[in-house]
């Protein structure tokens, strides 16, 4: 890769040198010192326009060849596949239009480069052409709009059908907390005004609300595969955004209100780790990490794929490191895990010594 970089730089330097010599040459040959483009300028820059078209295609092909593997792996959620299909179709349309219009633009720039005495065509209007290139975008966009809106409406239709798991995502500078609704699958009432740090009521649950008693507060999100999850999002301080790229899911967390998003995970973490794209990515990444460890002396652990929740709305100093691990597992594994967690009642109403909280993930912020 670094050789490639050097090559790119060399090409650029070469172009610069070429241009410089051209200037020198021009200033020598042409005694007429005009700052208006001459036929010679037109000719050289016309060729450059054509070369630039090749460059645009080149960087497109290069980027696809080198970087397409960076794209997110197959969607881990049910609606994700639909999003990806729409994305693919939109991208194909975009690339067709991009390829054609750039070709026309730069080819015309090259083909019709000016010459003294040449006559341009006085061509001021053509209603039919105008109509054609108004109506084609109208039709194409109408199709994309309808498809997009259909998908959007489905994704955003958050309802209680199919017995969804109710989970609250709670954001604060600079970490995430999740709250499960417990056996009753109803979240207890909560407000930041009820936060009582001394009693470890860090999410401001209403201690008088019996729905809250069985709520489970954790620092690592576990989801059973194949079951719909309805997320209720809250923030206690500034705006955050719960971004779960592998599930094609994102929603802002807004202080003062509850926002919602819903999806059904379809692959367990284990299954996703077996996905060939993911296997390759992990392999590549661990090579890079090993090299970096050697180079810097800082020991980087090998990486294992995990779903992740990132903060995607600027929220302050450690915005770049506000994350939570998501584990998708089988129903049995999930049931086992959740049964091992302490409930809110167990934590808060335990009058003796400082109650311990559920496992705190080591990735959460220190700053």
């Amino acid at each position: 890769m670094s050789t490639l970089l050097i090559l790119v730089v060399l090409v650029l330097v070469a172009i610069a040198v070429w241009q410089l010599t051209k200037i020198f040459e021009l200033s020598q040959v042409k005694k007429v010192n005009t700052q208006i483009a001459t036929d010679k300028d037109n000719k050289y820059n016309g060729y450059m326009l054509f070369a630039f078209l090749v460059f645009i295609y080149g960087i497109t092909i290069f980027s696809f060849a080198k970087y397409a593997k960076f794209l997110l792996p197959t969607a881990g959620s049910e609606h994700g596949a639909e999003v990806d299909n729409l994305m693919l179709v939109s991208m194909i349309i975009i690339f067709i239009v991009q390829t054609i219009t750039q070709a026309l633009l730069y080819y015309f720039g090259y083909k019709y480069k000016g010459e003294k005495g040449k006559k341009a065509l006085f061509y001021a209007d053509n209603d039919r052409l105008e109509f054609i290139w108004t109506i084609i975008p109208v039709i194409v966009l109408a199709g994309l709009i309808l498809w997009g809106l259909y998908t959007w409406t489905n994704i955003m239709d958050i309802n209680d059908e199919d017995d969804p798991l109710i989970v609250e995502l709670y954001a604060q500078q600079f970490n995430w907390t999740a709250r499960y609704a417990g056996d009753d699958n109803v979240l207890g009432g909560a407000n930041v005004r009820l936060i009582d740090i001394d009693r470890v009521n860090v999410m401001g649950l209403d201690e008088a609300d019996s729905y809250a008693f069985d709520d489970v507060i954790v620092k690592e999100l576990h989801l059973p595969v194949g079951r719909k999850v309805n997320f209720k999002m809250r923030s206690q301080d500034v705006l955050h955004s719960a971004y779960m790229p592998h599930f094609r899911a994102q929603m802002n967390c807004v202080p003062g209100m509850t926002t919602e998003f819903s999806f059904t995970p379809i692959y367990t973490t284990e299954e996703m780790r077996q996905n060939s794209d993911v296997v390759d990515k992990v392999k590549r990444t661990n090579i890079i990490r090993a090299e970096k460890s050697l180079r810097t002396g800082e020991v980087l652990d090998p990486w294992e794929f995990d779903y992740i929740l990132l903060c995607n709305k600027i929220c302050g100093r450690s915005h770049y490191n506000m994350q939570m691990k998501i584990i998708v597992e089988t129903e049995e594994e999930y049931t086992k895990w959740i049964s091992e967690q302490t409930t809110f009642a167990e934590t808060v109403f335990k009058d003796d010594e400082q109650p311990t909280f559920n496992t705190v993930d080591d990735v959460s912020m220190t700053e």
Binding site: D41, S90, W152, V238
Partner: protein, 609 residues
């Protein structure tokens, strides 16, 4: 009526002559009421000074992204205590993000671009002696200057400048305990922007009144050059949307300083519950983007207007579809005010609203597409004079298409879910409004430099170097960036090392940074060319680009009132390039253009307007 106009003109001219002799250094160069001087003031303060700061900031950010956690002497030099041992601090990274965005969007591309070219070209191209109110015009510039000074001062306050992103969403921007930049830095940011908005409104009202009232005889609205149409409509959008930002800023100031709760509710921060109750950050987002989205077109439309003019002139062809171009400008302007919600699909607002905004947003692609196709057709069968201004115009159309197309992804609420606030967005808007608007700006500077600096011309070869290096690097930075975004990398991350899934993107980051640094260096070529040419530039012919518009009929040496004699009368539209008569001969023998002030020739048919 005509004789009356002529009398008035002559009178005005006499008056100007008297003033001319009374000019002191202060009234000529500092508190000038002459639109040409004010245009140059905007160019130098808005574009050169603020542009230099804004671009330099972006290079510092790019270096941090490419080599996270590494020490650099430039960090140590420019960031001082915010770069201990030359390693950039996380807070100052966000401050750079914020100030880069603010300075580039508002100061360079709104005030710098519109301020320079609206001021310069509106009176000259419509045939007016000056702006409707020279005094308000002067006040507008000096308010802009004060806003710039305050914004720059904010860089030096102890806790650092504003750092909540250029959109300054509360509560982050409202609570000093949320981040250091939300203290005095944010107060100064808001004060600066309030003054900036006042400046922008005064300027815009002046442009609107001037275009409506002061057109010379014969200059009907349908004969206006497209530059003027663009500036005119831009000013209207500004007048409609900037006051809303002012109200948002005022409410934010009240929330910050007077304990109101417009945008804040239920906040627990740093161990205590705040008193705010009942406000909503989403309300702020609505108000902000009600300006914020039209703002994109406030930035872009003048650049497109400049491109229309430069491209037609240098293609030696009329702009294709003049009426469609005007209609597109109007359609874009109208639609731009009803699409703001596409910035907020996942803000928590009602998803049904998201549907509506998806619909309006994708509609705006239609007039944009019409414009792009019309530009391409304008080149077809032309006799292209590839001056630097022309190259920048072609470059603009190219980046406008590349960046505009990805807008179809982002404007679609479904697809936005996963690329929202990632580098995909950063790549999109930098191409479509950042780079495109800068290209338009450069095209304008190369094209109208002789008008601004009394006939002196910019060096074309340096112009060619400037364009080609910039063009290559712009794609080099922003094309790969789309892939970074689709890999899921969020924007405004100080570094991406906290996520192993982004480790393999480190090489791309370096590639983009290398391109960015080269592009930054290329701008120095422009600055050198600009400064050199002001003093030692070659004086060119009076109408170097053989252009039709009225500004090229003014004498090279600036005079108050623009024309020493009567204002020329206009007899045709601005695009009679290569027009031929029935025998295939040019209307004026041996000249492929017919300026607007030339009366219709015998048997000549007036076409297309």
């Amino acid at each position: 009526m005509s004789s009356l106009t002529a009398q008035v003109d002559d009178h005005a001219h006499d008056e100007q002559e008297h003033h001319h002799h009374k000019d002191t250094f202060v009234t000529k160069y500092i508190f000038s009421q002459d639109h040409k001087m004010i245009a140059k003031q905007y160019l130098i303060i808005g574009v050169l000074v603020m542009g230099f700061i804004g671009i330099a900031m972006s290079l510092l950010m790019r270096m941090q992204l490419a080599w996270p956690g590494e020490a650099f002497l430039v960090f140590d030099t420019f960031l001082g205590k915010w770069a201990p041992d030359g390693i950039m601090d996380a807070d100052v990274y966000l401050a750079l993000v914020t100030m880069h965005g603010t300075i580039m969007v508002f100061f360079v591309l709104t005030a710098g671009l519109s301020g320079t070219f609206s001021n310069l070209l509106i009176p000259l191209q419509i045939g007016a002696r000056d702006m409707a109110s020279g005094f308000l015009n002067m006040v507008s510039f000096w308010l802009f200057f004060v806003a710039s000074v305050i914004m720059i001062i904010s860089l030096f306050v102890e806790a650092g400048p504003a750092a909540a992103g250029w959109t300054i969403y509360p509560p982050l921007s409202a609570l000093p305990m949320a981040q250091p930049g939300s203290g005095l830095g944010m107060t100064l940011w808001l004060s600066s922007m309030a003054i900036f908005i006042a400046s922008s409104l005064l300027g815009s009202l002046n442009y609107i009144v001037t275009v409506i009232n002061l057109r010379t005889k014969g200059m009907s609205m349908t004969r206006l050059p497209l530059t003027i149409w663009a500036f005119f409509v831009t000013a209207i959008i500004g007048v409609i949307s900037f006051p809303v930002l002012l109200s948002a800023a005022l409410m934010l100031i009240m929330d910050r300083s007077f304990g109101t709760s417009f945008f804040l509710s239920d906040i627990f921060i740093q161990g205590e519950v705040l008193h705010y109750q009942g406000g909503s950050p989403v309300l702020y987002e609505h108000l902000f983007w009600f300006l914020g989205h039209p703002e994109v077109y406030i930035v872009l439309l003048p650049a497109l207007g400049i491109t229309s003019e430069v491209m037609s002139t240098n293609a030696r062809k009329p702009i294709f579809g003049y009426r469609a171009m005007v209609a597109s400008i109007l359609a874009i302007a109208f639609l731009s005010t009803i699409v703001w919600g596409h910035h907020m699909f996942i803000s928590g607002m009602n998803p049904f609203l998201g549907s509506v905004f998806t619909f309006t947003t994708l509609l705006i692609a239609i007039p944009s597409a019409v414009k792009a196709f019309n530009y391409i057709t304008t080149l077809w069968k032309g006799n292209l004079q590839l001056n630097p201004a022309m190259l920048f115009s072609i470059g603009l159309v190219s980046t406008f298409i590349t960046g505009g197309l990805t807008g179809i992804i982002l404007g679609d609420s479904t697809l936005d879910i996963n690329v929202h606030d990632t580098y995909f967005v950063v790549a999109h808007f930098h191409l479509v409004m950042g780079i495109s608007a800068l290209y338009g700006l450069f095209a304008g500077v190369y094209h109208w430099f002789p008008i601004m600096f009394e006939g002196k011309m910019l060096n074309k070869n340096m112009g060619y170097i400037h364009f080609w290096v910039t063009a290559i690097c712009a794609y080099g930075v922003f094309f790969p960036m789309h892939f970074v975004g689709m890999a899921g990398v969020p924007r405004r991350y100080y570094q991406n090392t906290a996520f192993p899934m982004f480790d393999e993107l480190a090489d791309v980051q370096i590639l983009m940074t290398v391109f960015a640094l080269i592009a930054g260096a290329a701008q120095l070529v422009f600055v050198a060319n600009f400064i050199y040419s002001i003093f030692y530039g070659k004086i060119g012919p009076q109408n170097p680009w053989s252009s039709n518009t009225l500004e090229w009929t003014t004498p090279q040496k600036h005079v108050h009132g623009n024309w020493p004699g009567a204002i020329p009368e206009v007899h045709r539209w601005a695009y009679d390039y290569s027009k031929v008569d029935g025998d295939g001969e040019y209307i004026i023998p041996d000249q492929d253009f017919v300026p607007q002030h030339i009366p219709l020739q015998q048997d000549e048919e007036e076409l297309n307007h």
